[in-house]
Symmetry: C2
Subunit: 267 residues, 2 copies
Protein backbone atom coordinates (compact mmCIF):
# COMPACT_ATOMS: atom_id res chain seq x y z
CA UNK A 1 0.00 0.00 0.00
CA UNK A 2 2.76 2.43 0.85
CA UNK A 3 4.40 2.13 -2.54
CA UNK A 4 5.96 5.37 -3.74
CA UNK A 5 6.60 5.81 -7.41
CA UNK A 6 9.47 8.05 -8.45
CA UNK A 7 10.68 9.55 -11.68
CA UNK A 8 13.99 8.10 -12.86
CA UNK A 9 17.00 10.14 -11.76
CA UNK A 10 18.92 10.96 -14.90
CA UNK A 11 21.27 13.78 -15.70
CA UNK A 12 18.48 16.08 -16.92
CA UNK A 13 16.34 16.10 -13.82
CA UNK A 14 18.83 15.50 -11.01
CA UNK A 15 18.93 18.33 -8.51
CA UNK A 16 22.57 19.03 -7.69
CA UNK A 17 22.19 22.17 -5.61
CA UNK A 18 20.51 21.78 -2.20
CA UNK A 19 19.75 18.19 -3.09
CA UNK A 20 18.19 17.61 0.34
CA UNK A 21 15.26 19.66 -0.91
CA UNK A 22 14.80 17.53 -4.02
CA UNK A 23 11.96 15.14 -4.64
CA UNK A 24 11.37 12.66 -7.43
CA UNK A 25 8.09 11.31 -6.02
CA UNK A 26 5.25 11.40 -8.50
CA UNK A 27 2.86 12.38 -5.71
CA UNK A 28 4.88 15.43 -4.67
CA UNK A 29 5.55 16.62 -8.21
CA UNK A 30 2.00 16.09 -9.48
CA UNK A 31 0.56 17.85 -6.41
CA UNK A 32 2.65 20.94 -7.07
CA UNK A 33 1.52 21.04 -10.71
CA UNK A 34 -2.11 20.76 -9.60
CA UNK A 35 -1.81 23.38 -6.86
CA UNK A 36 -0.50 26.04 -9.26
CA UNK A 37 -3.09 28.20 -11.07
CA UNK A 38 -0.80 28.89 -14.01
CA UNK A 39 1.93 26.72 -15.50
CA UNK A 40 4.85 27.95 -17.56
CA UNK A 41 5.18 25.83 -20.67
CA UNK A 42 8.42 26.01 -22.62
CA UNK A 43 9.42 24.59 -26.00
CA UNK A 44 11.54 25.41 -29.01
CA UNK A 45 10.24 26.62 -32.30
CA UNK A 46 11.66 24.62 -35.16
CA UNK A 47 13.16 27.75 -36.64
CA UNK A 48 16.81 27.23 -35.83
CA UNK A 49 17.49 30.90 -36.32
CA UNK A 50 15.58 31.55 -33.13
CA UNK A 51 17.69 30.64 -30.10
CA UNK A 52 15.07 31.62 -27.48
CA UNK A 53 12.66 29.05 -26.08
CA UNK A 54 9.03 30.09 -26.29
CA UNK A 55 7.37 30.27 -22.87
CA UNK A 56 3.58 30.38 -22.55
CA UNK A 57 1.45 30.64 -19.42
CA UNK A 58 -1.17 27.88 -19.57
CA UNK A 59 -3.78 26.28 -17.35
CA UNK A 60 -3.16 22.62 -16.77
CA UNK A 61 -3.70 19.61 -14.58
CA UNK A 62 -2.55 16.03 -14.22
CA UNK A 63 -4.88 13.28 -15.37
CA UNK A 64 -5.12 9.85 -16.90
CA UNK A 65 -7.80 9.22 -19.50
CA UNK A 66 -6.77 5.58 -19.83
CA UNK A 67 -6.89 5.05 -16.07
CA UNK A 68 -9.37 7.60 -14.71
CA UNK A 69 -9.03 6.21 -11.21
CA UNK A 70 -5.29 6.99 -11.17
CA UNK A 71 -4.22 9.03 -8.18
CA UNK A 72 -1.37 11.52 -7.96
CA UNK A 73 1.07 8.75 -7.08
CA UNK A 74 0.42 7.06 -10.43
CA UNK A 75 1.91 7.82 -13.83
CA UNK A 76 -0.22 10.54 -15.41
CA UNK A 77 -0.33 12.85 -18.37
CA UNK A 78 -0.39 16.62 -18.11
CA UNK A 79 -3.35 18.23 -19.91
CA UNK A 80 -2.93 21.86 -20.90
CA UNK A 81 -5.34 24.49 -22.10
CA UNK A 82 -4.25 27.77 -23.56
CA UNK A 83 -3.53 29.23 -26.90
CA UNK A 84 -0.78 27.56 -28.85
CA UNK A 85 -0.26 28.89 -32.35
CA UNK A 86 -1.31 26.69 -35.19
CA UNK A 87 2.28 26.70 -36.43
CA UNK A 88 3.47 25.16 -33.19
CA UNK A 89 0.71 22.61 -33.27
CA UNK A 90 1.61 21.64 -36.81
CA UNK A 91 5.06 20.96 -35.53
CA UNK A 92 3.71 18.82 -32.74
CA UNK A 93 1.77 16.88 -35.33
CA UNK A 94 4.67 16.54 -37.70
CA UNK A 95 7.12 15.23 -35.14
CA UNK A 96 5.84 11.73 -35.63
CA UNK A 97 4.48 9.81 -32.70
CA UNK A 98 6.62 11.43 -30.05
CA UNK A 99 5.18 14.96 -30.26
CA UNK A 100 6.66 18.32 -29.35
CA UNK A 101 9.29 18.29 -26.58
CA UNK A 102 7.84 20.41 -23.80
CA UNK A 103 8.97 21.46 -20.34
CA UNK A 104 6.21 22.30 -17.86
CA UNK A 105 7.20 24.32 -14.79
CA UNK A 106 5.21 25.19 -11.67
CA UNK A 107 6.39 27.24 -8.72
CA UNK A 108 4.62 28.39 -5.59
CA UNK A 109 6.30 30.85 -3.24
CA UNK A 110 5.22 30.12 0.34
CA UNK A 111 7.27 32.62 2.25
CA UNK A 112 10.16 35.03 2.33
CA UNK A 113 12.95 33.79 4.57
CA UNK A 114 14.71 36.74 6.20
CA UNK A 115 18.03 35.92 7.78
CA UNK A 116 20.92 37.88 9.26
CA UNK A 117 22.68 38.52 5.99
CA UNK A 118 21.39 38.89 2.42
CA UNK A 119 23.32 35.83 1.31
CA UNK A 120 21.28 33.55 3.55
CA UNK A 121 17.94 34.97 2.47
CA UNK A 122 15.69 32.51 0.72
CA UNK A 123 12.14 31.61 -0.17
CA UNK A 124 10.02 28.84 1.17
CA UNK A 125 8.72 27.36 -2.05
CA UNK A 126 7.47 24.34 -3.94
CA UNK A 127 8.61 23.92 -7.50
CA UNK A 128 8.15 21.14 -10.02
CA UNK A 129 9.20 20.53 -13.57
CA UNK A 130 7.97 17.91 -16.03
CA UNK A 131 9.55 16.88 -19.31
CA UNK A 132 7.36 15.30 -21.94
CA UNK A 133 6.06 15.13 -25.47
CA UNK A 134 3.03 17.23 -26.33
CA UNK A 135 0.36 16.47 -28.89
CA UNK A 136 -3.14 17.69 -29.60
CA UNK A 137 -5.97 15.66 -28.17
CA UNK A 138 -7.96 14.56 -31.22
CA UNK A 139 -10.20 11.91 -29.69
CA UNK A 140 -13.49 13.68 -28.93
CA UNK A 141 -14.29 11.65 -25.86
CA UNK A 142 -10.87 12.31 -24.36
CA UNK A 143 -11.06 15.98 -25.33
CA UNK A 144 -14.33 16.62 -23.56
CA UNK A 145 -13.09 14.63 -20.56
CA UNK A 146 -9.97 16.82 -20.44
CA UNK A 147 -11.98 20.03 -20.79
CA UNK A 148 -14.09 19.06 -17.80
CA UNK A 149 -10.98 18.00 -15.87
CA UNK A 150 -9.27 21.34 -16.51
CA UNK A 151 -12.38 23.44 -15.78
CA UNK A 152 -12.97 21.62 -12.51
CA UNK A 153 -9.28 21.91 -11.61
CA UNK A 154 -9.75 25.69 -11.50
CA UNK A 155 -13.02 25.66 -9.52
CA UNK A 156 -14.25 22.20 -8.48
CA UNK A 157 -17.76 21.50 -9.71
CA UNK A 158 -17.81 24.41 -12.13
CA UNK A 159 -18.45 22.28 -15.25
CA UNK A 160 -21.78 20.99 -13.98
CA UNK A 161 -22.79 24.47 -12.87
CA UNK A 162 -22.51 25.99 -16.34
CA UNK A 163 -24.00 25.47 -19.77
CA UNK A 164 -22.09 22.34 -20.66
CA UNK A 165 -21.04 20.33 -22.58
CA UNK A 166 -19.58 22.56 -25.30
CA UNK A 167 -21.27 22.53 -28.68
CA UNK A 168 -19.63 21.45 -31.90
CA UNK A 169 -18.05 24.79 -32.79
CA UNK A 170 -16.70 25.20 -29.25
CA UNK A 171 -15.18 21.74 -29.38
CA UNK A 172 -13.56 22.59 -32.71
CA UNK A 173 -12.14 25.92 -31.54
CA UNK A 174 -10.62 24.54 -28.34
CA UNK A 175 -7.18 23.00 -28.32
CA UNK A 176 -6.12 20.70 -25.55
CA UNK A 177 -2.50 19.71 -25.38
CA UNK A 178 -1.60 16.39 -23.78
CA UNK A 179 1.93 16.03 -22.51
CA UNK A 180 3.12 12.45 -22.16
CA UNK A 181 5.47 12.84 -19.25
CA UNK A 182 8.82 11.10 -19.47
CA UNK A 183 10.51 12.61 -16.46
CA UNK A 184 10.29 15.25 -13.76
CA UNK A 185 11.59 16.56 -10.49
CA UNK A 186 10.50 18.72 -7.60
CA UNK A 187 12.07 20.89 -4.95
CA UNK A 188 10.56 22.00 -1.69
CA UNK A 189 11.90 24.33 1.01
CA UNK A 190 10.23 24.90 4.35
CA UNK A 191 11.48 26.25 7.64
CA UNK A 192 13.09 29.28 9.15
CA UNK A 193 16.29 31.10 8.33
CA UNK A 194 19.65 29.38 8.44
CA UNK A 195 22.62 31.57 9.11
CA UNK A 196 26.28 30.78 9.40
CA UNK A 197 28.20 30.82 12.65
CA UNK A 198 30.19 33.84 11.56
CA UNK A 199 26.96 35.85 11.87
CA UNK A 200 25.06 34.05 14.62
CA UNK A 201 28.04 34.66 16.94
CA UNK A 202 28.15 38.37 16.30
CA UNK A 203 26.31 40.23 19.06
CA UNK A 204 26.07 43.42 17.03
CA UNK A 205 24.34 41.51 14.25
CA UNK A 206 21.87 39.36 16.20
CA UNK A 207 20.88 42.35 18.34
CA UNK A 208 20.10 44.47 15.31
CA UNK A 209 18.56 42.21 12.63
CA UNK A 210 15.03 40.77 12.72
CA UNK A 211 15.01 37.21 11.40
CA UNK A 212 12.12 34.96 10.54
CA UNK A 213 9.72 34.14 7.76
CA UNK A 214 7.10 36.32 6.13
CA UNK A 215 4.46 33.87 4.85
CA UNK A 216 3.14 34.40 1.32
CA UNK A 217 0.06 32.74 -0.07
CA UNK A 218 -2.57 33.12 -2.74
CA UNK A 219 -5.88 34.47 -1.48
CA UNK A 220 -9.29 34.24 -3.02
CA UNK A 221 -11.26 37.45 -2.58
CA UNK A 222 -14.97 38.16 -2.51
CA UNK A 223 -16.65 37.13 -5.78
CA UNK A 224 -17.72 40.10 -7.92
CA UNK A 225 -20.90 39.58 -9.95
CA UNK A 226 -20.73 40.45 -13.62
CA UNK A 227 -21.71 39.21 -17.03
CA UNK A 228 -25.06 37.85 -18.12
CA UNK A 229 -25.94 35.41 -15.34
CA UNK A 230 -28.93 36.43 -13.19
CA UNK A 231 -28.12 34.33 -10.13
CA UNK A 232 -27.51 36.76 -7.27
CA UNK A 233 -26.41 34.51 -4.47
CA UNK A 234 -22.87 33.17 -4.87
CA UNK A 235 -23.36 29.41 -5.20
CA UNK A 236 -21.89 26.85 -2.88
CA UNK A 237 -19.31 25.46 -5.33
CA UNK A 238 -17.72 28.92 -5.41
CA UNK A 239 -17.93 29.77 -1.70
CA UNK A 240 -16.52 26.41 -0.67
CA UNK A 241 -13.75 26.77 -3.26
CA UNK A 242 -12.90 30.18 -1.78
CA UNK A 243 -12.95 28.91 1.79
CA UNK A 244 -10.95 25.77 1.03
CA UNK A 245 -8.27 27.55 -0.95
CA UNK A 246 -7.86 30.32 1.60
CA UNK A 247 -7.65 27.90 4.49
CA UNK A 248 -5.30 25.48 2.74
CA UNK A 249 -2.93 28.13 1.39
CA UNK A 250 -2.77 30.18 4.54
CA UNK A 251 -2.17 27.11 6.67
CA UNK A 252 0.50 25.73 4.35
CA UNK A 253 2.44 29.02 4.37
CA UNK A 254 2.15 29.35 8.15
CA UNK A 255 3.17 25.74 8.79
CA UNK A 256 6.08 26.03 6.35
CA UNK A 257 7.28 29.16 8.15
CA UNK A 258 7.27 27.39 11.51
CA UNK A 259 8.71 24.10 10.26
CA UNK A 260 11.87 22.76 11.85
CA UNK A 261 14.98 22.10 9.86
CA UNK A 262 15.93 25.17 7.94
CA UNK A 263 18.34 24.38 5.20
CA UNK A 264 21.66 26.19 5.23
CA UNK A 265 21.90 29.40 3.37
CA UNK A 266 20.68 30.98 0.19
CA UNK A 267 18.48 29.33 -2.40
CA UNK B 1 7.37 63.99 -21.29
CA UNK B 2 4.76 61.48 -22.28
CA UNK B 3 7.11 59.47 -24.43
CA UNK B 4 6.37 55.74 -24.37
CA UNK B 5 9.09 53.33 -25.37
CA UNK B 6 8.04 50.03 -26.91
CA UNK B 7 9.80 46.83 -27.80
CA UNK B 8 10.02 46.23 -31.54
CA UNK B 9 7.20 44.08 -32.89
CA UNK B 10 8.83 41.22 -34.71
CA UNK B 11 7.60 37.74 -35.47
CA UNK B 12 8.91 36.30 -32.22
CA UNK B 13 7.09 38.56 -29.78
CA UNK B 14 3.95 39.54 -31.68
CA UNK B 15 0.78 38.49 -29.91
CA UNK B 16 -1.59 37.05 -32.50
CA UNK B 17 -4.30 35.70 -30.24
CA UNK B 18 -6.42 38.30 -28.38
CA UNK B 19 -4.09 40.97 -29.66
CA UNK B 20 -6.19 43.68 -27.99
CA UNK B 21 -4.72 42.46 -24.72
CA UNK B 22 -1.15 42.80 -25.95
CA UNK B 23 1.34 45.40 -24.82
CA UNK B 24 4.81 46.21 -26.05
CA UNK B 25 5.37 49.13 -23.68
CA UNK B 26 8.55 48.83 -21.68
CA UNK B 27 6.78 50.28 -18.65
CA UNK B 28 4.02 47.65 -18.67
CA UNK B 29 6.34 44.73 -19.32
CA UNK B 30 8.99 45.78 -16.80
CA UNK B 31 6.33 46.40 -14.13
CA UNK B 32 4.97 42.87 -14.51
CA UNK B 33 8.47 41.40 -14.18
CA UNK B 34 9.05 43.45 -11.02
CA UNK B 35 5.68 42.60 -9.49
CA UNK B 36 6.28 38.85 -9.73
CA UNK B 37 8.07 37.17 -6.81
CA UNK B 38 9.43 34.35 -8.95
CA UNK B 39 10.40 34.38 -12.62
CA UNK B 40 10.56 31.35 -14.89
CA UNK B 41 13.83 31.40 -16.78
CA UNK B 42 14.16 29.14 -19.80
CA UNK B 43 17.15 28.26 -21.99
CA UNK B 44 18.59 25.38 -23.94
CA UNK B 45 21.47 23.23 -22.85
CA UNK B 46 24.06 22.95 -25.56
CA UNK B 47 23.61 19.20 -25.59
CA UNK B 48 21.66 18.74 -28.79
CA UNK B 49 20.54 15.31 -27.68
CA UNK B 50 18.34 17.06 -25.12
CA UNK B 51 15.26 18.52 -26.79
CA UNK B 52 13.72 19.94 -23.60
CA UNK B 53 14.37 23.53 -22.56
CA UNK B 54 15.61 23.88 -19.00
CA UNK B 55 13.28 26.00 -16.85
CA UNK B 56 14.45 27.42 -13.53
CA UNK B 57 12.54 29.50 -11.00
CA UNK B 58 14.66 32.54 -10.17
CA UNK B 59 14.37 35.83 -8.33
CA UNK B 60 14.92 38.82 -10.54
CA UNK B 61 14.32 42.46 -11.17
CA UNK B 62 14.84 45.09 -13.84
CA UNK B 63 17.70 47.53 -13.42
CA UNK B 64 20.30 49.59 -15.19
CA UNK B 65 23.79 49.77 -13.72
CA UNK B 66 24.95 52.11 -16.46
CA UNK B 67 21.98 54.43 -15.92
CA UNK B 68 20.90 53.96 -12.30
CA UNK B 69 18.28 56.67 -12.62
CA UNK B 70 16.51 54.74 -15.40
CA UNK B 71 12.84 54.21 -14.75
CA UNK B 72 10.64 51.35 -15.91
CA UNK B 73 9.92 53.12 -19.18
CA UNK B 74 13.62 53.05 -20.08
CA UNK B 75 15.67 50.25 -21.60
CA UNK B 76 16.87 48.05 -18.74
CA UNK B 77 18.62 44.79 -18.06
CA UNK B 78 17.08 41.94 -16.11
CA UNK B 79 19.20 40.83 -13.13
CA UNK B 80 18.60 37.30 -11.88
CA UNK B 81 19.62 35.46 -8.77
CA UNK B 82 19.30 31.76 -8.33
CA UNK B 83 21.32 28.68 -8.86
CA UNK B 84 22.51 28.07 -12.38
CA UNK B 85 24.82 25.11 -12.81
CA UNK B 86 28.41 25.84 -13.55
CA UNK B 87 28.06 23.96 -16.82
CA UNK B 88 25.39 26.36 -17.99
CA UNK B 89 27.44 29.31 -16.90
CA UNK B 90 30.44 28.00 -18.80
CA UNK B 91 28.22 27.96 -21.85
CA UNK B 92 27.14 31.53 -21.24
CA UNK B 93 30.79 32.48 -21.03
CA UNK B 94 31.79 30.55 -24.10
CA UNK B 95 29.12 31.95 -26.37
CA UNK B 96 31.26 34.94 -27.14
CA UNK B 97 30.01 38.39 -26.33
CA UNK B 98 26.34 37.70 -26.83
CA UNK B 99 25.82 35.32 -23.93
CA UNK B 100 23.29 32.55 -23.36
CA UNK B 101 19.91 33.01 -25.10
CA UNK B 102 17.37 33.22 -22.30
CA UNK B 103 13.60 33.68 -22.09
CA UNK B 104 12.29 35.22 -18.87
CA UNK B 105 8.58 34.78 -18.16
CA UNK B 106 6.40 36.31 -15.46
CA UNK B 107 2.70 35.73 -14.90
CA UNK B 108 0.32 36.98 -12.23
CA UNK B 109 -3.19 35.59 -12.01
CA UNK B 110 -5.55 38.31 -10.79
CA UNK B 111 -8.86 36.55 -10.95
CA UNK B 112 -10.92 33.65 -12.20
CA UNK B 113 -13.48 34.75 -14.77
CA UNK B 114 -16.57 32.58 -14.50
CA UNK B 115 -18.95 32.84 -17.45
CA UNK B 116 -22.02 31.00 -18.65
CA UNK B 117 -20.17 28.25 -20.44
CA UNK B 118 -16.75 26.66 -19.82
CA UNK B 119 -15.48 27.85 -23.19
CA UNK B 120 -15.78 31.49 -22.16
CA UNK B 121 -14.05 31.01 -18.82
CA UNK B 122 -10.82 32.91 -18.45
CA UNK B 123 -8.35 34.44 -16.04
CA UNK B 124 -7.69 38.05 -15.34
CA UNK B 125 -3.92 38.10 -15.57
CA UNK B 126 -0.77 40.01 -16.35
CA UNK B 127 1.97 38.20 -18.20
CA UNK B 128 5.27 39.31 -19.63
CA UNK B 129 8.09 37.68 -21.49
CA UNK B 130 11.59 38.98 -22.19
CA UNK B 131 14.12 37.63 -24.64
CA UNK B 132 17.77 38.37 -24.05
CA UNK B 133 21.34 37.23 -23.69
CA UNK B 134 22.52 36.19 -20.25
CA UNK B 135 26.00 36.50 -18.83
CA UNK B 136 27.55 36.41 -15.39
CA UNK B 137 28.15 39.72 -13.70
CA UNK B 138 31.91 39.79 -13.14
CA UNK B 139 32.42 43.44 -12.24
CA UNK B 140 32.45 43.58 -8.43
CA UNK B 141 30.87 46.99 -8.18
CA UNK B 142 28.02 46.00 -10.49
CA UNK B 143 27.62 42.66 -8.70
CA UNK B 144 27.17 44.17 -5.26
CA UNK B 145 24.84 46.82 -6.74
CA UNK B 146 22.74 44.03 -8.30
CA UNK B 147 22.69 41.99 -5.07
CA UNK B 148 21.31 44.99 -3.20
CA UNK B 149 18.85 45.70 -6.01
CA UNK B 150 17.53 42.12 -5.93
CA UNK B 151 17.39 41.91 -2.12
CA UNK B 152 15.48 45.18 -1.90
CA UNK B 153 13.18 44.08 -4.74
CA UNK B 154 11.93 41.30 -2.45
CA UNK B 155 11.54 43.45 0.68
CA UNK B 156 12.36 47.15 0.21
CA UNK B 157 15.03 48.34 2.62
CA UNK B 158 16.07 44.84 3.63
CA UNK B 159 19.70 45.22 2.56
CA UNK B 160 20.40 48.05 5.00
CA UNK B 161 18.61 46.19 7.77
CA UNK B 162 20.93 43.16 7.64
CA UNK B 163 24.60 42.43 8.03
CA UNK B 164 25.70 43.79 4.68
CA UNK B 165 27.65 44.08 2.44
CA UNK B 166 28.58 40.44 1.77
CA UNK B 167 32.13 39.39 2.58
CA UNK B 168 34.62 38.09 0.06
CA UNK B 169 33.58 34.44 0.19
CA UNK B 170 29.90 35.39 -0.10
CA UNK B 171 30.63 37.53 -3.13
CA UNK B 172 32.54 34.65 -4.69
CA UNK B 173 29.81 32.07 -4.05
CA UNK B 174 26.98 34.21 -5.43
CA UNK B 175 26.18 34.24 -9.10
CA UNK B 176 24.20 37.06 -10.62
CA UNK B 177 23.00 36.65 -14.16
CA UNK B 178 22.46 39.75 -16.24
CA UNK B 179 20.12 39.43 -19.18
CA UNK B 180 20.62 42.03 -21.90
CA UNK B 181 17.09 42.31 -23.16
CA UNK B 182 16.59 42.41 -26.92
CA UNK B 183 12.83 42.11 -27.03
CA UNK B 184 9.69 41.41 -25.06
CA UNK B 185 5.94 41.51 -24.90
CA UNK B 186 3.16 41.61 -22.37
CA UNK B 187 -0.46 40.63 -22.15
CA UNK B 188 -3.06 41.89 -19.70
CA UNK B 189 -6.69 40.89 -19.21
CA UNK B 190 -9.07 42.66 -16.88
CA UNK B 191 -12.85 42.77 -16.68
CA UNK B 192 -15.83 40.54 -16.26
CA UNK B 193 -17.04 37.56 -18.23
CA UNK B 194 -17.85 37.79 -21.92
CA UNK B 195 -20.35 35.33 -23.24
CA UNK B 196 -21.75 34.81 -26.69
CA UNK B 197 -25.27 35.72 -27.69
CA UNK B 198 -26.20 32.08 -28.09
CA UNK B 199 -25.89 31.76 -24.30
CA UNK B 200 -26.88 35.22 -23.06
CA UNK B 201 -30.20 34.83 -24.86
CA UNK B 202 -31.01 31.51 -23.24
CA UNK B 203 -33.30 32.07 -20.24
CA UNK B 204 -32.60 28.60 -18.84
CA UNK B 205 -28.88 29.36 -18.84
CA UNK B 206 -28.82 32.91 -17.44
CA UNK B 207 -31.32 31.94 -14.72
CA UNK B 208 -29.16 29.04 -13.57
CA UNK B 209 -25.50 30.05 -13.88
CA UNK B 210 -23.68 32.48 -11.58
CA UNK B 211 -21.29 34.67 -13.57
CA UNK B 212 -18.62 37.05 -12.38
CA UNK B 213 -15.04 37.19 -11.27
CA UNK B 214 -13.40 35.57 -8.27
CA UNK B 215 -10.41 37.83 -7.47
CA UNK B 216 -7.09 36.13 -6.74
CA UNK B 217 -4.11 37.85 -5.21
CA UNK B 218 -0.95 37.16 -3.26
CA UNK B 219 -1.22 37.88 0.44
CA UNK B 220 1.51 38.51 2.94
CA UNK B 221 0.77 36.85 6.28
CA UNK B 222 1.90 37.65 9.80
CA UNK B 223 5.71 37.46 10.11
CA UNK B 224 6.90 34.41 12.10
CA UNK B 225 10.04 34.96 14.15
CA UNK B 226 12.79 32.38 13.77
CA UNK B 227 16.52 32.04 13.35
CA UNK B 228 19.23 33.76 15.31
CA UNK B 229 18.09 37.39 15.39
CA UNK B 230 17.06 38.69 18.81
CA UNK B 231 14.89 41.59 17.68
CA UNK B 232 11.36 40.84 18.88
CA UNK B 233 9.35 43.63 17.36
CA UNK B 234 8.77 43.24 13.62
CA UNK B 235 10.58 46.25 12.12
CA UNK B 236 8.93 48.91 10.03
CA UNK B 237 10.49 47.89 6.70
CA UNK B 238 8.71 44.53 7.03
CA UNK B 239 5.34 45.76 8.32
CA UNK B 240 5.11 48.44 5.67
CA UNK B 241 6.08 45.91 3.02
CA UNK B 242 3.29 43.62 4.24
CA UNK B 243 0.73 46.42 4.33
CA UNK B 244 1.72 47.83 0.95
CA UNK B 245 1.72 44.50 -0.83
CA UNK B 246 -1.58 43.41 0.66
CA UNK B 247 -3.26 46.67 -0.17
CA UNK B 248 -1.85 46.92 -3.70
CA UNK B 249 -2.55 43.30 -4.65
CA UNK B 250 -6.02 43.16 -3.20
CA UNK B 251 -6.98 46.43 -4.82
CA UNK B 252 -5.56 45.45 -8.19
CA UNK B 253 -7.50 42.16 -8.22
CA UNK B 254 -10.72 43.86 -7.12
CA UNK B 255 -10.38 46.69 -9.64
CA UNK B 256 -9.55 44.22 -12.43
CA UNK B 257 -12.65 42.20 -11.57
CA UNK B 258 -14.88 45.26 -11.79
CA UNK B 259 -13.23 46.75 -14.89
CA UNK B 260 -15.34 47.47 -17.92
CA UNK B 261 -14.67 45.94 -21.27
CA UNK B 262 -14.52 42.20 -20.92
CA UNK B 263 -12.87 40.61 -23.89
CA UNK B 264 -14.82 38.00 -25.80
CA UNK B 265 -14.43 34.44 -24.77
CA UNK B 266 -11.77 32.08 -23.54
CA UNK B 267 -8.13 32.94 -22.96
Amino acid sequence: MARTLVYPKVDKNTVHRKSDRASYDLQTIHSIINATPVLHVSFNCSDLEDPFPTVLPMIGTMGSFEHPSADLNDPMDCYLHGYVSSGIMKQARSRAEKGLPITVAATKVDGIVLSLTPNSHSYNYRSAVLFGYGSLVENLEEKIWAMKLITDSVVPGRWDNTRSPPDGSEMASTTILKVKVVNGSGKVRTGGPGDEKKDTEREDVVERVWTGVVPLHESVGEPVRGGAGRVERVPEHITSFRDNVNETNEEYARTAAAAKGSAGNAY
